[in-house]
C-alpha cells in the first residue's frame, strides 16, 4: 500500500472507531435523555411520556439506533436536542462562535508568546531572570483554573469595577463583547502561555547543545540569530504537536472559565449535555471535536517535515 494510502486508511479506521465511541460512550452512562427532562411531577408511565420516548428514538433496540446514527451522520444531520429545543447544528454554530472568539486569540497568542518566551528562557537557562520567569509561569500553570479565574474576577470586576461580572455581552456591540471577553481571554492566554513556555524551554535546552548550534556560533553569529534562525525551528516541533492537540480541545476545555464568567460556550454545552444525557448534543459536539483534532493532527504531520529537514516525509 502506498504511503498516502496507508495514512488515509489509518485516518479512516480511526474516524470509524471514534464515531462508534461517540455513540457508545454517552449511552454507557446511566440514564438517558428522558431521565432528567420532565421534572418530578410527571409519571413516567404516562402515554405522553411514551410518545416523547419514541420521538426521541429511545424505544428502538440499540443496534437500530446505531444504524440510524450512521445514517444521520452521512446525511450530515446532527439531530435535535429535546433539552434545548433546537437542532443540534444551530446550537453548535451558536456556541462554537463564542468559544472560538474567546479561545482562538487566546490559543494563538498564548502559543506564540509561550514559544518565544520559552525559547529565550531555554537559551538563557540558569540566569536569574529566567528562573524568576519560569517560577512565575509555573505557579500560574499549577493553579487550578477555576481558582485563578474567580480571584481575578473578584479583583478586577468586583473590587476595581473594571469588567462586567458575567455574560457574553450586555448590549451586543463589538466593544461591549470585547469588554466582556477580555478577562476570560487573558486567563486562557495565561494558561496556554505557561504550558507552551515550559515545553519550549525544555526543547530549546536540548537543541542548544547540538552540533549545528555550535557551528553557527563558530561562524560568528550573535545569540539572537542562532536562537531564532536555527534552533527555534527545530525546537518548535513539540509546540506544533501541542497546538494540534489543543486545537481540538479548546472547544471543550474552557469549561471552568465559562462557569466562572457565566458564558455560554461549547464547554458548558457539553458539560450540561453530559449531566442531562442529551445524546444528540453530545454526539454532535464530539463529532466536531473529532474532525477538528484529526485534521489538526494531519496538518501537524505535514508541518513536521517542512520545519525540520531531518525528518523526511518518507
Amino acid at each position: 500500500m502506498s504511503l498516502t494510502g496507508r495514512k488515509a486508511a489509518r485516518y479512516f479506521i480511526a474516524i470509524f472507531l471514534i464515531i462508534t465511541f461517540n455513540f457508545a460512550i454517552p449511552r454507557s452512562m446511566p440514564g438517558d435523555p428522558l431521565t432528567n427532562l420532565l421534572g418530578e411531577d410527571v409519571i413516567l408511565s404516562d402515554s405522553s411520556v411514551q410518545e416523547l420516548r419514541s420521538k426521541m428514538g429511545l424505544d428502538k433496540p440499540l443496534w437500530q439506533q446505531y444504524i440510524e446514527y450512521w445514517q444521520s451522520i452521512l446525511r450530515l444531520d446532527l439531530g435535535y436536542s429535546f433539552h434545548l429545543h433546537k437542532p443540534v447544528s444551530i446550537l453548535l454554530q451558536d456556541r462554537m462562535k463564542w468559544t472560538l472568539l474567546l479561545a482562538g486569540p487566546a490559543l494563538i497568542l498564548g502559543s506564540a508568546l509561550g514559544a518565544i518566551l520559552g525559547a529565550r528562557a531555554g537559551w538563557r537557562s540558569g540566569s536569574r531572570r529566567e528562573k524568576v520567569h519560569t517560577g512565575i509561569l509555573l505557579a500560574v500553570y499549577c493553579t487550578p483554573p477555576y481558582f485563578l479565574s474567580l480571584i481575578s474576577l473578584y479583583l478586577f470586576s468586583f473590587q476595581l469595577g473594571l469588567f462586567p461580572l458575567k455574560g457574553l455581552y450586555s448590549t451586543g456591540s463589538a466593544a461591549d463583547i470585547a469588554h466582556h471577553l477580555l478577562l476570560p481571554a487573558v486567563m486562557m492566554t495565561l494558561f496556554t502561555l505557561s504550558r507552551n513556555y515550559m515545553i519550549m524551554r525544555g526543547s530549546v535546552l536540548q537543541e542548544k547543545s547540538s552540533l549545528y548550534a555550535a557551528f553557527a556560533r563558530a561562524k560568528g553569529l550573535y545569540d539572537e540569530q542562532i536562537l531564532f534562525r536555527h534552533i527555534f525551528r527545530n525546537a518548535l516541533l513539540p509546540i506544533i504537536t501541542l497546538l494540534a492537540l489543543d486545537f481540538g480541545f479548546i472547544l471543550s476545555g474552557a469549561l471552568f472559565i465559562e462557569i466562572v464568567f457565566s458564558m455560554n460556550g461549547m464547554g458548558s454545552l457539553i458539560y450540561d449535555a453530559l449531566l442531562s444525557r442529551d445524546y444528540p448534543v453530545l454526539q454532535g459536539s464530539f463529532l466536531i471535536i473529532t474532525i477538528m483534532v484529526v485534521s489538526a493532527n494531519l496538518l501537524a504531520d505535514l508541518l513536521y517535515s517542512r520545519l525540520d529537514p531531518r525528518v523526511k516525509w518518507e
Binding site: 452512562m29 446511566p30 440514564g31 431521565t35 432528567n36 420532565l38 421534572g39 418530578e40 411531577d41 410527571v42 409519571i43 413516567l44 408511565s45 404516562d46 402515554s47 405522553s48 411520556v49 416523547l52 429535546f82 433539552h83 434545548l84 429545543h85 433546537k86 463564542w98 518565544i116 518566551l117 529565550r120 474567580l150 474576577l153 473578584y154 470586576s157 468586583f158 469595577g161 473594571l162 469588567f163 462586567p164 461580572l165 458575567k166 455574560g167 457574553l168 455581552y169 450586555s170 448590549t171 451586543g172 456591540s173 466593544a175 461591549d176 469588554h179 477580555l182 539572537e224 465559562e258 462557569i259 466562572v260 464568567f261 457565566s262 455560554n264 458548558s268 450540561d272 449531566l275 444525557r277
Partner: protein
Amino acid sequence: MRRSLYLLASLLLLCMLMLSTASMGAEEATGEVLKIGSPNVIKSASILGDSNMGVFAHLSNPTLMKMAADGTIKGLTAGSSEVSDDGKTWKFSIKDNLYWSDGEKLTPVDVQFTFNYLAENYPAAGWMKNTVDNISIQEDGTLVFSLNKPYSRLNLEFATYPILAKHIWESIDDPMEYTNEGENVGFGPFYIASTDLGAGVIYFKKNPYWKGTAPKFDSIEIHTFANMDVLSLALEKGDVDAYYKYAGTYPYSSIDKLKETGNFEFVEKDNIGLIFLGMNLMKEPMSDLSFRKAISYAINYSEILKLDALGYGKVPNAGFVPPSMMNFKETAKLEYNLTQAKGILDGAGYKDTNGNGILEGKDGKEIKLTFLTRTDYQRPTELMVDYLKAVGIDSEIKNVDSSTWIKQKDAGEYDLTITRSTPWGMLMHANWGTGYFDSRRTGEGVLHVLDDAKFHQLCDDILAATSEDQLKDYAYEVQDYYAENLPAIPLYWNLVETPYNKAFQGWYSDPLYGIFNVDSFLSVEKTQ
C-alpha cells in the same frame, strides 16, 4: 526583542483600560427598572419546554389560581372558584378586566383552550386526560370542569399552569419544542419583551393594556447567573436589586456578608419543602420499623441544623410535614438519643458479636449500607455516615451525578440517600409529601418506595375528598402515619431567605413561588 515585548504588554494594558471605560455608560435605562438576579439559568426561551422559563413566565402569563401567603388557594385569573358537593364539578369565574399585550381581551375561551391544549401537549398536565371529561363555558362566562371522579385538588393544580392566548398558541403544534426569543404576548402586568440567552437576561415590559393596580416599575429584568458566588457579588455591588431562586433559599453562608453591608433586608419564610433521609423500604434492614426508629434517634439534629443550615431552621417532627403547610398537626419531635438508638437496635436483634464496632444484621452479616448521594448533599451525607457509625452501622458513600442518582434510585440500587422535597413536590399527588413515597408513582425526584395498602388507600381517599373537613382529617392521618412508620426521616425544617436591596420595599411571598408572583410585582416599589 525584549523592548517590543514590553511595548506589546503596555499596549494591551492600555487597551484594557480604554475598554473598561468605554462600556461604562452603555445601559439604556428607560423608566424605572427592577433587576432580579437568579441562579435558575434559562437554557431555552420556551415557556413550556424550559422549567425555569416557565416559572418566570408566570408574570406574563399568570395562572388560573394562586397560593396565598397563608397557603390557601385563591383566584388569580379566576375571580372565584367553587366545587360541587360530590367533588366532580368545578366552576371558575374568569376576571373581566384582563387584556393581552397585543390589545386582545382575555376571555374564558382562552382559558378553556389552555387546559385542553396543555392536557394534549404538555406531559406535566397529562393527568387531566384521565380526570377531566369536559371543559365547557356557561352563558355567564363561568368555566365548568366536569370530572369523572371527585378530585379535591383541582384548584391547587391550577395554581401552576400559565394561561395561554388561544389566538397565538392554537397554531403551534408542539409547544414543548416552541422557542421564542422575541416578544411573547402575555396578559399579566408585564409581558416578555425579549429573552437574551447569551447575556442571560429576560426583559419584561409593562403591559400597556393592563387594567389592574398599576405596577411601580416600567420594566423588569431577570438576570441569570451560572455561578452563585458571582450572583452574590452582583447583588452586593448593586448590579441586581433582589434575589430569587425557585424552590430554594439564598445560601446561608453568604447571608452574613450581605447583612454586614447594611443595605439588605430579607424576606424570611418557612419552607414547605424539606431535606430528608430517604430509605429503601424494599430492602433489609430498612424495611424493619425498629431499625428506622433507631436511626431516627441516632441523628444529631441540632448539629445538622447548625452545620448544614447554619441555624436557619428548626429540628423537625416525626410527622415530616412542616408547620407552614395547611392542616399541620403537631406530632412528636424527633430526638437525638444515642443510648435509645443503641437500645432499640439491640432489642430488635442487631448485635455486635465480634466486637469490631459494627452490628450484624438478622442474617448474621455485618451491616454495610450503600449511601447513594448527589453532589449537592455531600456534606449532610458525611455527617449522617458519622452518626450511623456511632451506633454501629457501617455505610459506603456512592457519589454520583443527578441522572445517575435518578436511575439508580429508580432501580432500587441503594440503601440510604439524602434528598429534598420542593414546595410543589410536597403538594403533588395527594399533598403532604405523599407524592414522594407512593410506590405507584415514579418521577424524577421521588422515591416511590412505600408499598403499603393502607398508605395507598389514604392517598386515594385524599384525592377523592369532597370537603375541607375531610381533607383536614386525612391530613392528620397522613402525618400520624409518617410519625408512626417513619418512611423517611426529615433532617431539619429550614427557612427560605430571600435578600433584597433595602431601597425596594413591598415584597409579597407565597409558599409556592416565593417572591415571584403577580401580587409581589404589583406592590414592590423603590422607596429610596
